[in-house]
Amino acid sequence: MQATILLVTFADQPRRYKAIFYLLQGKQTISNLFAGQEYDLLNQFHLYPNLKWSDYQASLRELAQAGLVTLDSKQALVTLTAAGQTAREQLLARDFWPRAYDYWRMGAALTQWTRLLLAVQVVSNLDHQIKHYQPLTESINVQGHVKRWLRRWGRQGSQGLARELGQAFNALPPRTALIIANSFWSDYDPGVSAGSLAQALGLTAAELPLAQIDCLGQLLTFVHGHAAAYPVLAQLLPVPASPLNASAGWTYQQVLSGKSWTKLTHDSRLKASTLKEHLLQAAILCPDFALTAPAIQQLLTLDPDGYFSQRIQELTALGQFQTTAQSSQQGGVTHD
């Protein structure tokens, strides 16, 4: 990995570098989610699912040797130096950091990106009667998804894909359309290499995939903001209905239905600690968390100094519930 990219995730105040590593890798624990909230990195969760600890450590060492960060290995903290802050600003000015992508609203970026590229390859090959070829991904899940999508839409889908992409490109910023379109390839038109695209954009090879994720985020926001006009793309690239997984979604749904904490623990087969974790996930990830719901209020009253209450207080201090006095109807729908 390009070590300097990590600078974007650090600050002039000490940060826990292990928590940042797990955030980037996508390890979902309350502690990591809290770190993500605190460091304003929650959207970048799961940005590098294949990141290895040894590579991350090597990058940290490289940054420290270059005088861009200071490391406190005893407490596992990293802090940007003045030179590091300058480098961070310069890096952000290159406009590749995926600000538009939000894992919790949009799902795993690599999965969505691969779905889009594979659909383009399949439809383009179909249009040019190319029958035997290597799909650009080995992922059976993605292949299955695109197959089902194509089966559902048939010929109309392949025409719709080209039309909707054209319309979306007209609506999106020109640079976004340029990056997305120049990432497409099929066995009929092999496109341009990633290296050439990166060079043309003034980015490094490691920065380009992040710029692509940013563009994908813009495309998804646009398509799902106008889902009725973009049915083909919206079904090709479905977004999760809730940021919570099935289990946490169920727990939160019980809270939203007005159940008391006592009734919830009685009805559920899960341990109380697991239920609390689910609710903390909801508190972090659902923008209009039902802080005033009976179960939550009961929990806060029962054990005001306990782990749950403390975390809720911390989130309150971070401004999480400023606009959320009322409960929402969100939650309870499985994460795609």
């Binding site: 439809v123 249009d127 290597q134 080995e138 992922s139 059976i140 490109f169 340029l178 497409f184 496109g191």
Partner: protein
């Protein structure tokens, strides 16, 4: 083989694959397999090893399991089988999500070709599934990885002999491009193959590849001469030592002539790697600058020029990598740059990567805290540990292989600094019965004579196959792209 048999096989080859004749060794190995004998094929790069098991497919009752060490290699071979529509292919490796993997394992009976890493094969659930299927053919690709005397020794290959006996495939075919006598014996012994196993070993000599040693005093001269070579405008593969260098060299080439080159290394996503292969195979990308991750199994027949911008890890890698040139049998050129400080640099690299007994022992005592080990070394030690070997045995093996690495390196350096026929030296090192090479003006040379420009004029690479490269490596307007794609 009788004349009739050979004719039948050739007819089948023509009908199923569109080739008029077999390459050396293919017919003999197929004859042995069809007669029910296990076989070991030691065939040079580009001699069509994968055709052997592809050809066998309709002649077998059960599926074909190919054990392969590299994800890129598996993906590439699977891709070729799919393109040729030879049967359903499953690739099971670490890139699959757990649910995808389970799904594949459940449906394994639907597949004709199954590709797997040796590590995957060691899992009991996988073995049970394969035993149920009844394998028609077990292929051990890159079989030299089983020998600790080989340069690419993989501890996970060590258990393949035992697994082979448990899986009981009807036939076994071991394949490699590089094996001296010692490695060949190790393959037969460690795979527990019977003395009746048919062995075919071809000479490594590839007369259509001109070998050139290019001694250069400094980086600047090397770069100038690389540009001179790239200016030949022929399909070119440039090997470098690291990912960063691959990116840098490609960038510099593109700055000089936009859209000329792409870099390729294991750090790229599968989608990008596949795309670069596509562009290169279709002559829409002229130069690929790659680490050793590129090439295994990639069959670009009209590759005219292979440049080693930096020295490969060893003699065996060099042989494999230059073997990617001129697979169409036409004139090709392999240039290797040698700098005065290379000897020291590579010796240092060997020393740095060497695992001391203390480090190995510490890893076995505290595997969770691998202090002082780089990621590559950690992977090696983990593999030994997973193979169930005690620390003492691992230390002994590593000491033996360290000595071997030094000897291999000395041999390679002798080649790189020699004044005698390079081709003869290659054959002497790799062939059990090296042929006598008739050195001529299309054989090999060491700089400065003849001059590089004179050599290029003499070989006329660009005229060997008329240039048909049509670079598309320029970014385009989004709407132009959509019109072109759909």
């Amino acid at each position: 083989m009788t004349e009739i048999d050979l004719t039948k096989l050739q007819t089948e080859l023509q009908q199923r694959f569109g080739f008029a004749t077999f390459r050396p060794g293919q017919a003999a190995l197929l004859q042995a397999l069809l007669a029910g004998r296990d076989a070991l094929g030691i065939l040079p790069t580009g001699s069509g090893k994968s055709l052997l098991y592809q050809f066998m497919s309709p002649h077998l009752d059960g599926p074909i399991l190919v054990v392969s060490p590299l994800i890129a290699l598996m993906a590439d071979q699977a891709s070729r089988i799919r393109r040729q529509n030879l049967g359903k292919v499953a690739v099971i490796n670490s890139q699959l999500a757990p649910d995808e993997r389970q799904q594949l394992l459940r449906q394994l009976g639907d597949y004709r070709f199954i590709f797997m890493a040796p590590e995957t094969l060691q899992q009991p659930v996988v073995q049970a599934q394969l035993r149920q299927l009844g394998l028609g053919l077990l292929v051990i690709d890159e079989a030299h990885c089983i020998s600790s005397w080989g340069p690419d020794f993989r501890p996970s290959y060590l258990r393949l002999g035992q697994l082979r006996q448990q899986l009981r495939p009807r036939l076994t075919l071991a394949l490699t491009a590089t094996a001296n006598t010692r490695v060949r014996q190790d393959i037969l012994t460690n795979l527990r193959l019977s003395p009746e196993t048919f062995v075919y070993q071809a000479s490594v000599d590839r007369p259509n590849i001109y070998l050139r040693l290019q001694n250069v005093p400094d980086d600047q001269t090397k770069w100038q001469q690389t540009q001179q070579l790239v200016a030949e405008q022929v399909p070119t593969l440039i090997y470098v030592a690291t990912r960063r260098e691959a990116e840098e060299v490609a960038l510099r080439l593109n700055q000089a002539q936009p859209g000329t080159a792409a870099f390729y290394h294991a750090g790229l996503a599968t989608i990008e790697r596949n795309q670069i292969q596509q562009l290169f195979l279709k002559d829409q990308l002229r130069v690929v600058v790659a680490t050793s991750a590129f090439g295994m199994g990639i069959d670009k027949s009209n590759l005219r020029l292979v440049i080693h911008y930096q020295l490969p890890a060893n003699f065996e890698s060099y042989l494999q990598e230059i073997g990617r040139a001129g697979r169409d049998g036409l004139q090709a050129l392999a240039v290797i740059f040698v700098q005065p400080n290379d000897q020291q640099r590579l010796s240092q690299r060997l020393q740095t990567n060497q695992l001391t007994p203390g480090l190995v022992q510490r890893f076995f005592d505290q595997p969770q805290d691998p202090v002082g080990l780089n990621p590559g070394q950690q992977t090696v030690l983990q593999a030994y540990q997973q193979a169930g070997m005690p620390a003492e045995q691992v230390i002994a093996i590593l000491q033996k292989t360290a000595q071997l690495r030094w000897r291999q390196w000395e041999n390679f350096w002798a080649y790189l600094t020699s004044q005698s026929c390079l081709r003869q030296q290659l054959c002497a090192y790799f062939d059990p019965d090296p042929p006598q090479i008739q050195h001529d003006e299309l054989c090999c040379s060491e700089a400065p004579a003849p001059r590089l420009s004179a050599l290029l004029q003499q070989l006329k690479l660009a005229q060997v196959v008329p240039a048909k490269t049509a670079p598309s490596d320029q970014i385009r307007d989004p709407f132009v792209i959509l019109t072109r794609l759909f």
